[in-house]
Subunit: 348 residues, 2 copies
């Protein structure tokens, strides 16, 4: 069908190997031949068959990507695309192809991720949104090729953990609220199947215990959806002794909480301060604009690729890469609590 190396060889009266070498700029062919070959290749509109090349060199130059999106099909997972942009750019920059697998196709019902990857001969893989109860977790641990997992830590010889420093992020949020004078701070956490939920809960508990202010009854659990935030918001309002602030483990849930609070007539941020986590776009447009902890999703994708590439090249490198979170102050926290606290402290 297409033009091959052989066609060029025939036309020039040389061997296919010579053409191959010329095209790859090897130093055991003359410059003359290189020039000729390139000219003819151009003329005949030759394009190399990467399948053949990959087969013979036993190098696929491919990275597999699996995205288990938190909110399937809804497009409410703006991180998915940001991860992917980072992955794509970094991979292509290094001459690697990205093969993307849908994580709820029939394919996965029959074959494991690892099997799928082996067939494609991918040199490495990247997972996002992997849950702690995933049935293939054991297999991942023993992967023969390197895997970067974003936001889920799986202990394995060939597996890395790429994430935001969640502990630091939570402390950034809580410390901000603390300095504003808040003492009763509730948490709305994500579901337990996400690794980050554990990290965030632990950091929350640690921080408040340090301050002697941890209260079991202020811990609420959602599932990262807006709806669940809305529901938890309702529960918070039912509390006899309401908190003055809520740390919400995802912006999407935070949006739901705020919706509920507004519906119930709360003045925001005066009557309740809220800090989210993620820094998704809609938070900027919410009223009040959402104060949150920003994650650099694009960069996480880049790091995920880099770790895999390092492994492929035989380097060892740290298996845990945590990016810096960032406190993004907008309008969802009451900044006057501080003055209130000062008055209280002055009195005592």
């Amino acid at each position: 069908m297409g033009v091959t190396i052989k066609d060029i060889a025939k036309r020039l009266g040389v061997s296919a190997t010579a053409v191959s070498k010329a095209l790859n700029d090897r130093d055991d062919v003359s410059n003359e031949l290189k020039v000729k070959v390139r000219k003819i290749a151009e003329e005949m509109d030759y394009s190399p068959n990467s399948l053949a090349k990959r087969l013979v060199t036993n190098k696929s130059n491919t990275i597999g990507v699996f995205m288990f999106s938190r909110q399937k099909n809804s497009g409410h997972d703006p991180f998915g695309f940001q991860f992917l942009s980072g992955i794509m750019e970094e991979a292509n920059r290094n001459g690697y192809d990205i093969v993307l697998f849908s994580t709820d196709s029939d394919l996965l019902a029959e074959k494991s991720y690892i099997k799928l990857c082996k067939e494609r001969k991918v040199e490495g893989a990247i997972f996002t949104g992997l849950r702690l109860d995933d049935p293939h977790l054991e297999e991942i641990k023993e992967s023969p090729f390197p895997i970067s997992i974003i936001d889920t830590e799986v202990k394995g010889n060939n597996v890395s953990f790429i994430s935001t420093d969640n502990r630091k992020g939570v402390r950034l949020a809580l410390n901000y609220l603390w300095k504003l004078g808040h003492r009763r701070i509730a948490i709305i956490n994500g579901h337990k199947k996400a690794m980050v939920s554990h990290l965030r809960y632990n950091a929350y508990k640690e921080f408040l215990e340090e301050k002697g202010q941890f209260r079991e009854e202020l811990v609420f659990t959602g599932d990262f959806t807006e709806r669940s935030g809305y529901l938890c918001g309702g529960k918070i309002l039912e509390l006899k002794d309401r908190p003055s602030a809520v740390f919400v483990a995802s912006d999407l849930m935070a949006l739901g909480v705020i919706k509920k609070f507004k519906e119930e007539g709360l003045k925001l941020p005066e009557e309740m301060s809220i800090v989210g986590f993620d820094n998704i776009f809609p938070g900027e447009f919410n009223e009040p604009a959402l104060t949150t902890i920003g994650q650099n999703a694009f960069e996480m994708g880049v790091e995920a690729v880099n770790w895999v590439l390092k492994r492929i090249n035989g380097e060892k490198g740290n298996k845990k890469i945590l990016l810096e979170p960032e406190l993004i102050i907008r309008d969802s926290c009451d900044t006057n609590q501080f003055q209130w606290l000062e008055r209280v402290t002055a009195k005592s």
Copy 2:
């Protein structure tokens, strides 16, 4: 390195071809052998080498995807991911792999999209966000493999156009505003390098000319960003004779317009009605919640894949697929204009 068909063959004392046939469930091998082969394959953890298979069968089972994202890296393009979800699911459902190309890598500086695809032997490709001034447009027109282009129409033998029915969408929006009583309706359109901008402008002009209400001075042009919406909002406020409603050709811009209007103290929706286009997530959380025209991005991805697959299978099919837009009524339009209009009409 890995286990091959030959290893299985050796172990069973049969030919490699027999093993291949058994694994592919051909009918010229005995059931006995099939059973044995499958057992051994499992036992040896065999996985087929798709590269070899693709090379010999001359079928790559791969579709290339290029996404020129409107807002690079910002993650403000929630459609990108929705398209992709649809593409991914439908492709994998049909046994096809998706290879994703970053559209601003060095790769593309050197090689054209088509060349990249040829090397990977993709059977078809999908483009999103392609601009009318793209330097490779001519090459796309003459593509040897089928290409679905989302939201940009390129006339070519092997090229299809997958989009929302933009004309219908615009008419849905304008008709809604018209029925609410609006007569001076401005438009903030996207830049001219996007095909949809032309379609939307034409539909806008057509509708208002039908009503004898088209005014050149009410046409504004942004570039799909929030910032440009904000700027156009300012220009609208400078008008001596203000419109009572604005149709904005993207939600992102609509958010910007609203921001500007609110900053300038306009009461919304009473003093200005706004309809967006796209139905992106943040619109729901805006105040007022954005009335808009919804596009089904997931389904557009699915259709794009389906067209390509049809072509691959030799079917002809329509080269233009338009999905139905949907009017999503929220709170950004003043519904009392209608009464006002009734009063006016009653008087005359």
